[in-house]
Symmetry: C2
Subunit: 198 residues, 2 copies
DNA sequence: ACCTGAACACCGTTCAAGT
DNA sequence: ACCTGAACACCGTTCAAGT
């Protein structure tokens, strides 16, 4: 479906640009993405990207948007799991951490894009949609009496914030030599104690 | 003291460059920093920065290093406060959040610099030095029996990670319309419950 | 519709030269 | 020592033109 692709010289230029840009992003950071370089790789003139993206920022935003969409899918899958609050929360946060470890530069780009004062509405919506999966996990925990009452958004913030911070504070997948994977369980354990009804 | 400044055309070029670069950083992001533009502002030729910084990355790293140094001072002041664990931890995290709110782009640059594979040793050391102030706060909490035993580094990670994540997850100082300042207390409250001996 | 080539105004970096 | 100007190889973006 989509728009019937009627190739002139390339055919899937938009897709190809995004794919090549993401490769450059993960290998060398956002700074290394160059429209001219991408065009060269794909064998089109350096002005071709203009047909699909108004400017370089638009391409970066599109990359961030797709990032949030994939992020949403990953979190959604984890949130759909059954089990008690602890096991569900663990699955959710592991999905978060796995995504962050797999696509560190993309995640960084996603948040930077979202924080721009002129961030496109689409991007903010995609971000909210992804984090909404935390909402349902907390609501279920509350329904089962395993979590104190309160706005699930604010409760989920504690854990998501901790996970996001864990990524930022760590250096190449470790914090003080301890693999993040190990720390995730430990942190969740501590936080659950703080959220448990007394 | 320092190196006696014997001005040729400028005199304090290194300092002036860093100051101007930080202004550009906070107003328009790291992308907007241009050595040529900085040189123009300061009235020197565009090759002058080379005398003080091997390349643009070296200037950005120097900016990040000074950021960590100021960060360390801010956290150190907070960590020196007296009081029980909760009040000390609150002061420490507020210092963190205040710094992040005041210098968002700088903090971002600091962590990006630290995460580069070829990050200078100096930068990693400055980062460790800043976060070491959390260590003493936790150790004191443990000594007073207000905090469970365990590696203070790992315990402090929970709170610092949460604060760092809070900044990243929020948009212009708010999360879902709630000012960060308000959320800080709430999050600390929850986390302390998770760290309290039973 | 979609792509191109030339042109413009920028970059960072290098290098021989000036004081 | 410290700074300069010219030169090189890049950028992103614009625009008239081609198919």
């Amino acid at each position: 479906m989509k728009e019937s692709p009627r190739p002139y010289h390339h055919g899937h230029l938009r897709e190809a640009l995004l794919k090549a840009a993401e490769k450059a992003l993960e290998s060398g950071g956002a700074q290394t993405i160059s429209l001219r370089e991408l065009s060269r790789e794909l064998g089109v003139s350096h002005t071709s990207p203009r047909r699909h993206f108004a400017d370089k920022q638009a391409l970066l935003d599109a990359l961030a948007l797709r990032g949030f969409e994939r992020f949403e899918i990953a979190l959604g899958r984890a949130a759909a799991a059954s089990g008690d609050f602890k096991s569900r929360l663990t699955k959710l946060t592991r999905a978060y951490v796995n995504f962050a470890l797999k696509h560190p530069a993309l995640l960084s780009l996603m948040f930077e894009a979202k924080h721009r004062v002129d961030a496109p509405r689409e991007l903010l919506e995609a971000s909210e949609k992804a984090f909404a999966h935390a909402h349902s996990t907390y609501a279920a925990g509350q329904a089962a009496g395993e979590v104190i009452p309160g706005d699930p958004w604010r409760l989920s913030l504690v854990v998501f914030a901790a996970m996001q911070g864990l990524m930022v504070l760590s250096t190449n997948g470790k914090f003080k030599g301890i693999p993040l994977d190990h720390l995730v369980g430990e942190i969740i354990e501590r936080i659950i104690l703080g959220l448990r009804p007394r």
